[in-house]
Amino acid sequence: MLNNTIIFGIFTVAVLIASLVLDKNKTVLGLKRGGRMFFNILHPFLNILILISVALFFIPSALIAEYLGANSGWPGFIIAAIIGSITLIPGFVSYPLAATLLKQGASYGVVAVFITTLMMVGVVTLPLEIKYFGRKTAVLRNAFNFVAALIIGIIMGWLM
């Protein structure tokens, strides 16, 4: 973790210096935009961290390992795919959740299915999608992406 921080930090400082040398005004504008985006996600981010912290206390890791772990087989994939498809969790918030599931014993494949369905399949937003693309196209897109998410999960589980 610390190593990552140092690498990330050095990289950021290098980019920042390069940007400052090239154009000071643009850099300031960029920092302002980045700062605004950061504060926009800060409270949903903190909220989800609180919810995960509380959930971790109540849900024993044995249970997570049993239902979402390497030996959970198909049920684990299906549970992850359905939850990922119907919930509307912003992407940036799903990663700490996914990392926690991994630490608690969920398998890589199951976690990959969960985050991919979250990203690519949206049951809650389907009515909106239908308004844009029409029923047939929207339903097909979601169905194909659901299948793709399962394939991604299976390959990820097999590779990692």
Partner: protein, 173 residues
């Protein structure tokens, strides 16, 4: 001001309960707080850096210019361009639908619109940054490399099935 209090209501409540748990020796509260502390440190160790990069990226890369030309290109060049454009975006998938509408109007093929949506859903650079931070670079690269050909295949299939009578409506929220 009011809005801020509302946004951070849960955070304030959580901190108050944690302090109370600490002084009253309520063990579950302390355990939950130490879980949170770990998550919080993990987050502050890379998220601020990430947003500096995202902000700088936003001002240096000419997104609008790119968007204008995506429709004109076809073949491999069109696919690469549409994926690149998608990677520069941020936000949830439903935020990509209006952009898909614009791309369609500018002449992008049905295939490329669905490749755009695929790449938008899971290859946005800000998201990849967070994914690397939490799930590791190996996971992120593998997942991206596996997803990419699948999006392209979905693009081709969608064009084949709905290509003939494809339309996107301009939905104003």
């Amino acid at each position: 001001m009011n809005r801020h209090i509302k946004n951070y209501a849960l955070v304030i409540l959580f901190i108050a309960l944690s302090i109370a748990s600490y002084f009253m020796g309520f063990r579950p509260g302390v355990v939950v707080y130490s879980n949170f502390g770990e998550f919080f440190m993990e987050m502050v160790s890379f998220i601020p850096f990430l947003f500096i990069i995202i902000g700088l990226f936003d001002v240096w890369v000419p997104k609008e210019k790119l968007q204008k030309h995506v429709g004109e290109k076809s073949g491999i060049e069109g696919i690469v361009l549409v994926i690149f454009l998608a990677m520069l975006q941020a936000g949830p998938l439903y935020g990509a639908f209006p952009v898909a509408y614009i791309l369609h109007k500018k002449g992008a093929s049905v295939k490329n619109i669905f490749i755009y949506l695929g790449a938008f859903s899971s290859m946005k650079i800000p998201m990849l940054g967070i994914e690397i931070g939490y799930l590791g670079i190996e996971f992120t690269i593998l997942r991206t490399l596996i997803s990419l050909p699948l999006f392209i295949i979905i693009g081709y299939i969608m064009e084949k099935i709905v290509g003939r009578d494809f339309k996107i409506n301009d939905v104003r929220a």
